[in-house]
């Protein structure tokens, strides 16, 4: 509101107050005063005084009573005369009081208006600064406006926009980073696959020649050929891992209750890890999200793999805790393992980040899991990690009733049975948790036990 409108408002209020004052003086205070000191009342009281005196003369026995009534009437008459004498002063005092009240109200209202206007100006300036920051690319815009009015709501929206933009930028950066790593993995796999195929054929032919040779070659030669063959197989498996990472499929989304999906996982995979117990906490309600249940299951398998490997011979518990925020639903996966080493926490979702010994895993599991969640429009975050355990959060956008599914993705057919799902995982080069998931890394994307939860 401009100063001109403020002044106009105040002038309007002053005029209204003056009109009220005039009306009050003319129609109320003066009228009541005239009523109170009407000449007939005074005359009547004067007649009453005379009457009491006459009565006292006629009835001397009751003189005391007449005199008392006489004095009462005289006192009232005196008061009325004093009132009449002060008529102007009384009316002036009335007007002054009214003027004071109206003036006080106006001053308070005007002061409150000015204070409020100043506060609005400051708040609008903060909003303007925040928008400038937002437009310049800052992600951590905090306005700190606790108001519940329209400015407060706008401030909250700007902050929320800032958070969403920050999250999208982080997601984009992660996706770009993972895409580069995927491209590198694809090239490595391609470069390795041709010579490996030739080498595999050559070693098979060599082993066949050695088997057919008479007299049989020395045992030492056959053992060397076998060893070379095993190494070629191991290299093939690594190449397969590169391929799996490079060719992660896009999720096919359906609306599911995240808590229900987590419950099904806990039921199906409850006994998959001998040293792990899975526990599901109750959800606050229905947590609908667009999920590829199979890929979600794969993420949970990776996390549980890591937990199991981190625990080693010790038994532990993985707790699945569904929840929701204003815009997202989430599933916290917590274990009571030894925690992630502090030096690799900042890079834990980068591919090939591992503290395992060479040959025990490539550190792709969490990178693949993050990529899966990013492809869902969500994210995978490390919430906390300490010696008491580690918590990861699977974050998924809440499905709104208006727009239940992202437009770029199409619903997929009904989920296959758990057995069929395992086949699909095998198509990514992942072993099922029940068979051969012992090292958590061989042919899988799981990180080593040291950076696992």
């Amino acid at each position: 509101m401009s100063w001109k409108s403020t002044v106009a408002t105040l002038c309007g209020l002053l005029l209204a107050a003056a009109a009220v004052l005039w009306l009050f003086e003319r129609q109320i205070s003066a009228a009541w005063f005239r009523l109170g000191v009407r000449p007939e009342i005074v005359e009547s009281l004067e007649r009453s005084l005379q009457d009491q005196k006459r009565l006292a003369r006629l009835d001397p026995a009751g003189s005391a009573g007449y005199r008392r009534r006489f004095e009462e009437a005289q006192a009232l008459l005196n008061n009325l005369r004093i009132l009449e004498h002060n008529r102007r002063e009384i009316l002036r005092r009335y007007e002054l009081i009214l003027l004071g009240i109206v003036g006080g109200v106006l001053v308070v209202a005007g002061g409150a208006h000015l204070v409020r206007q100043g506060r609005w100006e400051r708040r609008i300036a903060r909003l303007r600064d925040a928008l400038v920051q937002l437009s310049s690319g800052r992600e951590d815009v905090v306005i700190g406006d606790p108001g519940r009015d329209i400015l407060g709501r706008i401030a909250a929206m700007i902050e929320e926009t800032s958070r969403i933009m920050a999250r999208d930028r982080r997601r984009l950066a992660s996706l770009e980073n993972l895409s580069r790593w995927q491209e590198a993995a694809r090239r490595h796999a391609h470069e390795m696959r041709t010579p490996l195929t030739a080498a595999r054929l050559e070693i098979s032919r060599l082993q066949q020649l050695l088997a057919d040779e008479e007299p049989p070659p020395p045992e030492e030669i056959r053992r060397a050929a076998s060893s070379v063959g095993e190494d070629i197989e191991r290299l093939s498996r690594f190449a397969q891992q590169f391929t799996s990472f490079a060719r992660l499929p896009q999720p096919r989304l359906e609306v599911h209750d995240l808590a229900k999906a987590a419950g099904e996982f806990a039921t199906t995979f409850g006994g998959a890890w001998p040293n792990l117990a899975l526990r599901l906490e109750p959800a606050p309600g229905k947590l609908d999200a667009a999920i590829d249940r199979e890929m979600l299951r794969q993420v949970l398998v990776n996390l549980c793999d890591n937990s199991s490997l981190a625990l080693g011979a010790r038994r532990g518990t993985v707790t699945l805790r569904p929840g929701e925020t204003a815009r997202d639903v989430f599933l916290d996966v917590s274990d009571d393992g030894p925690g992630v080493a502090p030096e690799i926490r900042p890079r834990i979702f980068e591919p090939y980040v591992t503290s395992r010994r060479p040959g025990e895993g490539m550190g792709l599991g969490l990178a693949i899991s993050k990529k899966i969640l990013l492809d869902h429009g969500g994210d995978l975050e490390l919430v906390e990690s300490s010696e008491a355990g580690t918590t990861f959060r699977l974050l998924l956008p809440r499905i709104s009733p208006v727009d239940p599914l992202p437009k770029t993705l199409t619903p997929r057919p009904p989920l296959p049975s758990p057995g069929e799902g395992e086949k699909t995982r095998e198509s990514w080069g992942r072993p099922s948790p029940g068979d051969g998931r012992g090292d958590g890394g061989e042919g899988s994307a799981g990180p080593d036990p040291e950076n696992a939860p």
Partner: protein, 220 residues
């Protein structure tokens, strides 16, 4: 033309508030400011006021100012009240020396007679020790009711405004005894104290002391 001449004559001979201005007379050790009582009783509004039963007060206030700004003040008072029941006039006179004279007159004529003859000592000034003359201002105020009547009216008004039972102390008394607690009491107090003892008539003379002619009279 004849009408205008008649009007001028009437104005010239019309009764004035003070037939005689106060005068200064030497005393034993000082000077007295003496005055006769002004011819108020002939005025219709004063007679009417006297007949109300309220106490009418003639308050004299004298202020003498020397050339060096030194100042002497004094005063005197006459209270007149017509007792309506007994139909007598009660006069209470306090002069500059603090001497109190009470009188009772059974009729207005007796009061008027006393009034004409009364001489009133309204101030005492020290004998001058030479030097420039002093300026003496004599001020008379005719007040239509006494302070006790004013307080009674204030109490009655505050009772009426606060819609209290008769007999309560009233806003003014409460304000004197204690601080008003509510906004309503403050308003009540403001209204009750609007009853003031404003003068019906006022008159003022300027004299030169120790000698000199009296100054012009100013009437309000």
């Amino acid at each position: 033309m004849r009408g205008a001449s008649l009007l001028v004559l009437l104005l010239l001979f019309a009764p004035r508030l003070h037939a005689q201005a106060p005068r200064l007379e030497p005393g034993a050790g000082d000077w007295a400011v003496l005055t006769s009582l002004p011819p108020l009783l002939g005025r219709e509004e004063v007679r009417k006021q006297l007949g109300t039963g309220l106490t009418t007060t003639l308050a004299f206030h004298v202020r003498a100012t020397g050339a060096g700004r030194e100042r002497i003040e004094g005063g005197a008072r006459v209270d007149i009240r017509y007792e309506l029941w007994d139909e007598v006039y009660l006069v209470n006179r306090v002069d500059a020396t603090g001497k109190v004279i009470r009188a009772r007159f059974p009729s207005f004529d007796r009061l008027a007679e006393w009034w004409r003859e009364a001489r009133f000592d309204v101030a005492r000034l020290p004998r001058p020790a030479g030097g420039p003359p002093w300026k003496v201002e004599v001020r008379l105020r005719v007040i239509p009711f006494s302070q006790s009547e004013q307080l009674e009216a204030q109490r009655w008004l505050s009772e009426s405004l606060a819609a209290r039972e008769p007999g309560s102390a009233g806003a003014v008394a409460e304000a004197v005894e204690d601080q008003p607690a509510t906004f309503g009491q403050v308003l009540n107090l403001l209204m009750a104290t609007s009853l003031q003892r404003t003068a019906l008539l006022e008159s003022e003379w300027n004299l030169i002391f120790p000698s000199g002619p009296p100054g012009r009279e100013r009437r309000r």
